[in-house]
């Protein structure tokens, strides 16, 4: 291999600027974290609500929830990014459309976070529904029999148990959010992948660049994983052997 290695490249100044390449990558990491964490908050909030809807006894909420999941699960994420970014604004009322195209602050970031959040919410909803479904029906009956309303029953009895059960699959969804956030570069978010491509072109040290980026993504996903394992340990219930059925 006739490659000129230069690991010192990260501390060199970018062409025609006073930042270093490391600054670029760290900015990219910052946006990656911002997109991922915002998306995760959206995904958890909506995913839990929609997963709960899909486990309700009546039909309408179940159908709505199912439609949501199918919609976001069956279109590639990259296409969804483009749909939200280029197509959606055209369907808004005229004034809004103009505002979105011209004045909306942090437009790329917000679009990416929303898109990734909705996409992931469908997957979270699927896990949450499965978790609720694995609880014995008697838990719901017992909560209702005490006079709790259905929302209270979900809030205090069903979801706390279901969420504990689905922490392992949610962990992998959380890790996926970081990995999937790289798609945001396609609509111009200055996240890690975007910055990496820019650095590669600018510095012509593509291998060092992408090895560094790989490491940063790995650290994000790994930290997400450790974080969830910690939560799992923290929320473990004494004496509970999973009783499902």
């Amino acid at each position: 291999m006739n490659y000129h290695w230069n690991w010192g490249i990260f501390l060199e100044q970018v062409k025609g600027g006073d930042e270093t390449y490391l600054d670029w990558l760290l900015t990219g990491l910052g946006w990656t974290l911002a997109v991922s964490l915002t998306a995760w908050v959206i995904a958890l909030t909506l995913g839990i609500c929609i997963g709960a809807l899909r486990s309700m006894p009546s039909r309408l909420p179940v159908m709505l929830g199912n439609a949501w999941v199918e919609l976001f699960r069956n279109i590639p994420l990259l296409v969804q990014m483009f749909l939200w970014f280029f197509v959606m604004p055209e369907f808004l009322p005229r004034d809004w459309s103009l505002w979105v195209k011209q004045d909306m602050p942090a437009k790329e970031f917000l679009t990416a976070a929303l898109c990734l959040g909705l996409f992931t919410s469908a997957r979270v909803a699927e896990q949450v529904r499965a978790g609720v479904g694995s609880l014995p029906r008697g838990q719901r009956d017992a909560a209702l029999a005490l006079g709790l309303t259905l929302p209270q029953t979900y809030r205090h009895v069903i979801l706390p148990q279901a969420l504990r059960i689905v922490i392992p699959p949610l962990t992998s969804e959380f890790m996926n959010v970081f990995k999937n956030s790289s798609v945001a570069f396609a609509i111009g978010v200055l996240e890690l992948t975007f910055q990496a491509r820019q650095m590669q072109e600018d510095s012509e040290q593509g291998i060092e660049t992408f090895l560094a980026v790989t490491l940063l993504y790995f650290i994000c996903a790994f930290a997400a994983n450790r974080g969830m394992v910690l939560i799992e340990a923290r929320t473990r219930v004494p004496g509970l052997i999973a009783r499902t059925g």
């Binding site: 205090h156 004496g239 052997i241």
Partner: protein, 242 residues
Amino acid sequence: MIEIRNLSKWYGQTRVLADCSTHVAKGEVVVVCGPSGSGKSTLIKCVNGLEPFARGSITVDGVSVGDPGTDLPRLRARVGMVFQHFELFPHMSVEQNLALAQIKVLGRSKDEAAARGVALLDRVGLREHARKFPGQLSGGQQQRVAIARALAMDPVCLLFDEPTSALDPEMIGEVLDVMVELARTGMTMMCVSHEMGFARKVAKRVVFMDHGEIVEDAPAAQFFEAPASERARTFLARILHH
């Protein structure tokens, strides 16, 4: 207190309750028995509206259960229920299990709820277990906590659905003792149970069900000494020989 009139219910094409009528007066204990699948659980779940029903009417303490205008959560708060599999909330400690509905449904303060909880744990002999989680208790202890949880709501009546049939034999006694004590204090109780000793001791009447029908509804002594139907005789012979 509980008045069930001409109750019928279908699951799709199958009729699981057929024109059932019975009642439980204030301060009375009525035991419901019958073979598995005869509709006992369904009947008792209709009483607090956990199961909807197609025809007939149920009134509890003057409130019509099937009426679309009825505030079911409010009614259920006044009707305690104890389940075959205890159904304590496994992610909450015993004291939290006792406090949850007192706080969320009755609007009691945390301190009030805790005090009531401790008093009831004392009554079922489990005071020192308040901090434990359900998974750390034996089946008999869990069921006694479940009874305390129902009592914490100060119910006007209690429904039991086979409260001892998931228990190891050596734990049945401790749960039945609590139930007998409750009956003695004048609690209105409708109990699905095959514990005939318990029925003899405290039941005013025994309701015998088969295939969704109430086949017999007789004073306890009469039911045990001279069951009117062949089906009840067969049933009694079977469970008394076990």
